[in-house]
């Protein structure tokens, strides 16, 4: 019985001792070992490690993940003297826990240091660009420049800045109203343009239509006249061919026909007595 009690006690004692000597570094963490308050080494490799027992050495833990930095939106002046409300965030990590511990102590301290560094770099960069550039083509360049420069400065505090990103770059209220005014004017211009274009197209189509109509009719007239004249010519030829056999007889026959048409019941004729028709009356 004595023996088993001894085993139990020694196991418990061993656990307590282990807890003082061994420590665990998580995947998400990195640590600094302090010996009587003085940093002796940093450990970033996860797993179980050994140290001298408390209170000789103790462990300060830091996050080893990518951390977030975010601020309230701030007014920043661009090169063309316009204010932009810039809302940015940054991704950073504790690159050197020792410097970090000495420089800013903890994440809270880091936030305010990052405030100073990033805001000043952002102001410098935005001050070198016109508003239009910030909004459109240069945004990526600006963010990269801010990241690069603020990373350089932050290294002194054991901080690595991975990325500074402009989340929003908006106009101030007064500028916003000016933009709405401009948008309105632009839309009205476009609407007017559409309407005029409609008018233009419509007139073009109508004019073309009228032109084509005239041409169609005129061409038809030309063809018709040619057809008519050909018929006429042919008829003349046929008549001529027939009548040239005896022009005098044709004249006679034609005259007879003409008489039949000329005289009707309204006609009054005066016949001389020697008219050939009365030859036999005498």
């Amino acid at each position: 019985m004595k023996k088993s009690l001894l085993i139990t006690i020694s196991v418990i004692a061993a656990f307590i001792l282990l807890a003082f000597i061994f420590y665990v570094v998580d995947e998400k963490e990195q640590v600094v070992i302090l010996q009587m308050g003085k940093p002796v080494r940093t450990v970033t490799a996860p797993g179980m490690h050994m140290k001298l027992p408390w209170p000789i050495q103790n462990v300060v833990k830091f996050d080893d993940r990518l951390l977030d930095y975010d601020t309230q939106p701030t007014d920043v002046l661009t090169k063309d003297k316009k204010y932009l409300i810039v809302d940015n965030f940054a991704k950073w990590r504790i690159a050197d826990p020792l410097k970090f511990l000495q420089g800013v102590r903890d994440e809270k301290g880091a936030q305010s240091r990052l405030d100073d560094i990033i805001y000043s770099e952002l102001r410098v960069q935005l001050g070198n660009h016109d508003m239009q550039e910030v909004i459109t083509e240069s945004r990526e360049d600006i963010m990269q420049a801010v990241t690069r420069d603020s990373d350089l400065k932050a290294r002194a505090y054991g901080i690595q800045i991975i990325d500074v990103r402009i989340k929003r770059a908006d106009l101030t209220k007064e500028n916003e109203n000016a933009v709405y005014e401009r948008m309105r004017a632009e839309r009205q211009r476009i609407a007017n343009q559409y309407r005029s274009e409609g008018e233009e197209e419509a007139l073009k189509i109508r004019a073309t239509t009228d032109k084509e109509k005239e041409i169609i009719l005129a061409e038809a007239y030309r063809e018709a006249q040619i057809l008519r004249s050909k018929g006429e010519a042919k008829a003349i030829e046929i008549y001529a061919n027939a009548f040239k056999r005896d022009p005098e007889f044709y004249e006679f026959v034609r005259t007879m026909d003409a008489y039949k048409k000329i005289f009707d019941d309204k006609t009054t004729i005066v016949l001389p007595p020697n008219s050939s028709i009365f030859k036999y009356l005498k």
């Binding site: 995947e27 909004i135 402009i166 929003r168 948008m183 009205q188 040619i226 007889f249 009054t268």
Partner: protein, 330 residues
């Protein structure tokens, strides 16, 4: 049952302490064994079909367990986390879903949805980003607040992309390109963070001009329609006029053809008639000629009023017409 006591001697003095060994007897070993077995059993875990089990031994990543029944050394030696790797998560930009519904309820977040376009116009855009975990280890250990990071980065990416397009593109034909560009950019930035996430889809939900200028945009739409209407009307005019003109042209041609054919046919008829008459006539010219003259006279004279001059110069009415009263000239 009274707890048995035993006496121990420390520094010459004797104390009475409870004798647990005796109290539990052989039971103590059994209890310890049971506790030990239960402790070992806490390492059994099940990984669901949509999960991966990420196991850390003393904080250090050790292995990934796949779906099914698995075992890890009991706490505190090993711990397991089971992120859902097939689940598609979503991030909303410009609005938030308050109530899944149905009916679904949304709240607009103008702070997020209003943004500047390339030609310095303001546009109102709602967007959804869908993502899933592509690397569970990276997802768990590399970035703090992965969800929030994705939300922020998505918003930044969308604004950056919109800054490269003008408002008309964003409202109409450019939507697809904007989605693609945002997705590419977002994935690129997140890969830089090594966050272990795959963007599955970027979907622009609702893209419209801000309320302040909405009527003007509507007017442009109606102007576009006006334009179409005007063009259609004149097309209608054209469709009316041209076929009619063609019809009329056709009519003119047919009439001309008819006229020509008529003239030719008539002339041929006349010619034939003349030739036929002439053939007979040439046999007895004189007689035929006289006969024709007389026949003509016969035909025409009955219908007309006739006066006949006498040799003295008087006009005598031929009483042939009947009722006509006699007239005497001079």
């Amino acid at each position: 049952m009274p707890i048995p006591k035993k006496t121990i001697i420390i520094g010459g003095e004797s104390f009475e302490i409870p004798d647990f060994a005796k109290f539990f007897g052989g039971g103590l070993r059994l209890i310890l064994m049971i506790v030990g077995a239960l402790w070992l059993l806490t390492g059994v875990f099940i990984v669901g079909p949509d999960e991966q089990g990420v196991i850390r031994r003393f904080g250090k990543f050790s292995r990934v367990a796949t779906s099914g029944l698995n075992y890890h050394l009991p706490f505190p030696l090993e711990v397991v986390q089971k992120p859902k790797i097939t689940e598609v998560k979503r991030v909303e930009i410009g609005f938030r879903t308050i109530e899944q519904g149905p009916p679904a309820e949304y709240r607009q977040v103008p702070m997020e949805s209003l943004m500047l376009t390339g030609n310095l116009n303001i546009i109102d855009i709602d967007m959804i980003v869908q993502y899933k975990i592509k690397d569970a280890v990276a997802y768990l250990f590399n970035v703090k607040d992965a969800g929030e990071t994705i939300q922020k980065t998505a918003e930044a990416s969308l604004r950056q992309v919109i800054g490269r397009h003008d408002i008309d593109e964003a409202l109409t034909t450019g939507k697809f390109a904007i989605q693609e560009e945002t997705m590419t950019l977002l994935q690129q930035v997140l890969d830089k963070y090594d966050i272990g996430v795959l963007i599955v889809q970027v979907q622009l939900q609702d893209v419209h001009p801000p309320q302040e200028v909405a009527p003007d945009f509507k007017d442009v739409a109606s102007a576009k329609e006006d334009k179409e209407r005007k063009i259609n009307q004149s097309q209608g005019y054209r469709n009316d006029v041209i076929p009619k003109a063609r019809g009329e042209a056709e009519k003119m041609l047919r009439e001309a053809e008819a006229y020509a054919a008529k003239r030719i046919a008539e002339s041929e008829g006349d010619a034939k008639k003349f030739i036929n008459i002439y053939a007979e006539y040439s046999r007895a010219k004189d007689v035929t000629r006289k006969r024709m003259l007389l026949e003509t006279m016969e035909q025409i004279l009955p219908g007309v009023q006739k006066y006949i001059l006498t040799s003295e110069g008087q006009i005598n009415l031929l009483p042939l017409a009947g009722q006509n009263p006699a007239k005497t000239g001079q």
